[in-house]
Amino acid sequence: MDADNDADRDADSGDDDDDDDSDSDSDAEARWSDLWRAVGTSGPLAAPGFDPAAAVAQLRATRVLVIGAGGLGCELLKDLALSGFRRLDVVDMDTIDISNLNRQFLFRAADVGAPKATTAARWVARRVRGCRITPHVARIQALPDAFYAQFGLIVCGLDSVEARRWISFLVLRLYAEQDLMIPLIDGGTEGLKGQSRVILPHLTACYECSLDMQTKAVTYPICTIANTPRLPEHCVEWASVMAWPKAFPGTPLDADDPTHLAWLYDAAAARARDHHIRGVTYKLTQGVVKHIIPAIASTNAAVAASCVNEALKIVTAAYRYLNNYMLYAGDRGVYTYTFALARTPACPACGSARLEMAVHPDRSLAAFLADLADAPSIQLARPSVRTATASLYMHAPPALEAATRANLARPLRDLVASGDTLTVTDASLPISLQIRLCLDPTQDPPEASAEPEARG
């Protein structure tokens, strides 16, 4: 811990616990004067519907959720706070590791072991008067939809494809189920490259639309790993893919467990010796097993700046926002390329049509499926239907068809709860249907037809 730096920071931020955000504070107002000039003046570049009088209020009132308080997240929080946003929340389940300190500049050695979200929120709020930041130490998947529904904007600084897919799907769901249009700004970095993008649910390409563009973790052919290793990476993969399951059958490898990593390192090093390969180190072992991509502070800074730039424009409407993807290549001087990524028509996430249907609870699954087949707006030939947890009827493969056939005769009330969402797929349909089912005894009796109403 650098005591001098700390003293400087405290002096700089004035009265730490001063929560006064009154507009009469002339220091605070002077700080924002340039910003107000930028977002409070109309001009030819303003977005349609721009209201200079409302822009500042909008900026102050909009609740922004930052997801991730790591390398990108620290930058995002700092930039958002310094751009006049005042109501921020941040979610991150991780605690601070000593290896984060080189780039996650809100953290100090004394913070190691503390939750990232709490520490980052405390430092930024302390530094920028009037900005309130609420930390949430949680897995994003553990928070309910009602939590996310509170926000006007979500900005992501995540390093996992999986978490991003989840958030992208979440904003689509909030749009479909609660009519909430929550723009998602997604930043990502990988070494000297990165991107920022704006996802507007059902209006622009979602994350799932572009799943093909995501870089995959490097993998090597398993036969090379088994028989003809040439690279130190091959030895590490051999240790984790071949040797570990043989030595510890039934014990999943935990890349965060130092004893597991130590074992892998020894195994990989021995294999490297046997095959006269150099370069297996503990750090390499960790990097290969955890698919660590080098994180570079300047890339984080550039990508976060772009994300917050878009946040500012979207919320104030003072300028046109990004449509919809900015690619940043810091490895070639500085090159950026902006393009409108097209939606994928058959996207499993945003390509889904959404319907709401009210059906009598006694109606059989077979009769309900016949309704779907007959409805002029749907016309399915051989629908397969699942809820999030159960296969109601699967037309194929034969084993699932046989296992679910008995459900056809059962009334819907035995199979689903009112309000459940059904996923319907059909070989004749490139997309899926999401049907929110309301079991309603006042509907037509079981033998009559329920007419679905298209929506959205």
């Binding site: 977005a47 909430l180 799943l211 090597y220 397969s384 699942r386 947890t389 296969s391």
Partner: protein, 182 residues
């Protein structure tokens, strides 16, 4: 360009709805993959220990030609929640004699690892596995001994496959009897 902030319309009535399990994008994609497989060849069958859990299933291949005709081969599929960004994990549950499948059941098939792409699907993997039994590949060996024999003498390889498929033991390994008619 749309003024996003002006089209927001929160429906407070819905916001308090009790949380239910949510379908994921991976689930939707997997349902589509499976439900579209209504033309499986007679040499392949899928089985679901729990029909509600589509992320875990078994595949049985019964080749009707080639070295492995007359055998019945079982695989387990574990589909990750990151599907289709990442491929399913596929393991052979029997000890078999095959150049591209090792004695622990690991399978050397490019699309299961380095050549996987999200546009591929479960059916692509089934086709790939079926092909491994029709045309075992000595160039990408996982079982080096088997591959070396396939390369040097197809007749010896064929005899070894026959012996192994009947539960024979050689080279220090006892193989599983995989014959449809033992």
């Amino acid at each position: 360009m749309l003024n996003i902030m002006s089209i927001k319309k929160a429906k407070a009535a819905n916001a308090g709805a009790p949380p239910t399990s949510k379908t994921s994008a991976a689930q939707i994609r997997l349902q589509k993959d499976l439900a579209d497989m209504d033309h499986l060849p007679s040499t392949m069958a899928l089985a679901f220990p729990d029909p509600n859990d589509v992320f875990h299933f078994r595949l049985t291949i019964t080749p009707d030609e080639g070295f492995y005709r007359g055998g019945r081969f079982h695989f387990t599929f574990t589909v990750p929640t990151s599907y289709p960004h990442e491929p399913p994990r596929v393991l052979c549950t029997q000890t078999i004699y095959h150049p591209n499948i090792d004695l622990e059941g690991k399978v050397c098939l490019n699309i299961l690892r380095e050549d996987w792409k999200p546009v591929l699907n479960i059916n692509s993997i089934l086709v790939g596995l079926q092909y491994l039994f029709l045309e075992p590949n000595a160039d990408d060996p996982l079982n080096k001994e088997a591959a070396a024999i396939l390369q040097s003498s197809r007749a010896t390889f064929d005899a070894n496959v026959r012996k192994a498929m009947r539960g024979g033991a050689f080279g220090g390994v006892t193989y599983d009897n995989v014959m449809v008619h033992p």
